[in-house]
Subunit: 423 residues, 2 copies
């Protein structure tokens, strides 16, 4: 690789809000999105909420000359809604479906059926290994009483761990998507602090677009205005995050967002705003590679975020266990009721009533059984994530006791040598 190596990457990200039968002007918006992507000719276009594979196939055909490589990440009952179009060949791809993703009985919210996931693409560009991640986390339906908070924190941790473990040999890491997290939310801080990813909106010198970089705006005609009432400028929940891992330097030259309107037809491309980033990757000659410095402040910030996340997951485990116990009692009660009904039916007297009540009792039993199984699974999933956090926290505390300076680096497995038998 030449020492003057420099690579410019133009990235597009959009949550397309393309739900068959439900999303307004879906066909027209898909068509205009395709035209726009063809016209702009980005290096990578990462899309979320493309729920119908027919829409993906339509875009694939339309974008084929400009974006020869494309992939749809299949998962869940409906989704995952994630897809990607690339100007450059995709070397490898894989996906990781989140262990926890809402509740199947919250049918009106539907997230459980989507199989929310993170998709990974590996690209080799002029000798540079680029790991691109695209994701969509669980939606937030009520910020005051958010019953999905724990699941979203667990997803953010799973996402951070997946990126951490799969990007160890990458030169550049890029994460785009709808995180359904505000910049200061626990999940967002956890993700950024654990992976070391930088936020394009905060880093760029040249931003043009919506006020405060928001990606859901009140002026967008598809947005539910009531939901955005507490946020006069809108909310920022879609992100372009990046980092360079080794010997490279990455910066965001420009960041643009759409602003809730389309200059031509008047209706926007989606209920979310699109993000368009121009990233520049440069090679740092070995003698100029800055050694990572991690101060006390950075370390204690990481530790406090890890603690906060641990507490959140611990609460979630307790709640999931409460539901399991409750469902267990209902199962016991249902069995008792069934035995009583069988005895009544055999004895005569209120025989017909007993037979009539038999099937609802079986229904109750099966329902409670399903709730039991689901929340047991939830408790196990949350315990798994909590154990990982606990381990990282334990190591952070050990290091604090030893007074080590470079804790985040050590925690992230960049330091070696524990001493074992060597012959």
């Amino acid at each position: 690789m030449k020492p003057t190596f420099s690579l410019r990457l133009r990235i597009f990200n959009l949550n397309c809000w393309a739900i068959p039968y439900l999303s307004k002007h879906r066909g027209d918006r898909m068509k205009r999105l395709g035209d726009f992507l063809n016209m702009e000719s980005f290096d990578l276009a990462l899309l979320e909420e493309v729920w119908s594979e027919q829409d993906f196939q339509y875009l694939r055909q339309k974008l084929l000359p400009t974006y020869p490589a494309a992939h749809y990440f299949s998962s869940g009952v409906i989704g995952s809604g994630l897809c990607v179009f690339s100007k450059h060949p995709i070397q490898e791809f894989t996906q990781h479906v989140y262990t926890l993703n809402g509740y199947p009985y919250m049918i009106h919210h539907g997230d459980w059926f989507c199989g929310k996931a993170v998709g990974l693409l590996v690209l080799h560009l002029s000798g540079l290994v680029l790991n691109v991640y695209v994701t969509h986390l669980h939606a937030e339906y009520n910020r005051q009483k958010d019953i999905y908070l724990t699941h979203r924190v667990a997803q953010a941790w799973e996402l951070a761990q997946f990126i951490h473990h799969t990007s160890k040999k990458a030169d550049v890491v890029l994460l785009c998507g709808d995180l359904n997290l505000h910049p200061k939310d626990l999940g967002c801080r956890l993700l950024k602090e654990w992976t070391g990813l930088h936020d394009a909106y905060l880093e760029t010198q040249d931003f043009k677009g919506s006020e405060e970089g928001c990606t859901m705006l009140p002026e967008n005609c598809y947005v539910n205005q009531r939901e955005l009432e507490p946020f006069p400028f809108g909310i920022r929940i879609d992100y372009v995050l990046y980092k360079a891992v080794s010997g490279f330097y990455i910066s965001c030259k420009t960041l643009r967002t759409t602003t809730g309107r389309d200059p031509h037809s008047g209706t926007p491309l989606s209920d979310h705003e699109a993000l368009m980033a121009t990233l520049c990757v440069r090679h740092i000659p070995p003698q100029h590679t800055p050694s990572p410095t991690h101060g006390l402040a950075e370390r204690s910030r990481l530790v406090s975020i890890l603690k906060e996340a641990w507490i959140e997951l611990d609460l979630g485990v307790a709640q999931a266990r409460w539901w399991t116990t409750f469902a267990g009692y209902v199962i016991g009660l249902g069995l008792l009721l069934l035995a009583l009904l069988c005895a009544l039916a055999a004895g005569g007297g209120v025989r017909e009533v007993a037979i009539l009540l038999w099937t609802p009792s079986v229904g109750l039993l099966l329902g409670a059984g399903a709730v039991y199984i689901f929340h047991m699974q939830e408790a196990k999933g949350l315990s798994g994530a909590r154990a990982e956090l606990q381990h990282v926290l334990g190591r952070a505390r050990e290091a604090q006791d030893l007074g080590l300076e470079s804790q985040p680096a050590l925690l992230l497995g960049q330091q070696e040598g524990d001493g074992t038998e060597e012959q």
Copy 2:
């Protein structure tokens, strides 16, 4: 690292068959397993089918002086049953739960409830990065008519991809576990060919133990003799697999298995046999690092295995879609029946019969709905894995057309440079 660097690793693996209330002599076997592990003082002990976390906690307490680090991988409703005890500090761990793992309505088989997964541990030993994977794939209940074959192939692919993407910076990779795959089964060949892992039993010069390295033996008193009838020596489904990735050479000095009996008390430790391997890792000075050579034969073997797996998954997708369609028809029929019953109940005449039939109809509807959702999810999961295989196959064919020699290396992402805009 010294050029004469050499590391000896003693590994223990056992599927413990520790199902609360069901497995015979569980408490006694756990106690003896703990004593044995303490006595032998392995570097790593990897266990499967430790279904109760109480058993894990018991072992943890017992093994604490010899194995200060331990972890249980939590997932599913019951499991995952995977745990690990290590003499050396564990730097990092994470887990990946398989997308597909049997059917929830096959309650008597129970695999769906276990949340089968792969656990990853990262250890740093004298500057060497060791990635250890422990797993347990879906059981095989009927080899002649194996309804779980597709799921097991999909799991093997997911496992291979997880190892491939998370071990890129590891020096040594180790995979232990109960794969529920015979050595020549498609899943086993796919896993070995895609990851490049070597089989300790086939590689070692010094093997002592069961005939043909089998890990389920007819002479083991806990084994269902009828199931092993077609295999007079038993079957080999538990493995120690390994590879060195960069600048290191790994070999299996010795491999031992238990032989279905315990020399002292007479009853074995489990229905599976334990594997005990001594691995030796040596440093290869840069000038002696052999360049990987991948010939035509190797390439065409990989392509043919990938094709075979693709066909298997494609059959699985078709079958899952058939079930979805079937459940869809049943849902339609159930709705029709419900409407008819409502009309009859309103009209009089056979009113009581109509009311009586109402609840079973609702039950039928809900049941069919659950089957629909489950198989839809199955089809999406299998499609995801099939798309990954399709991509790899496509690239293999492209390379064949170009007449490239080092295809597996290229497919595994070891070759760089595609040509993109460079300024």
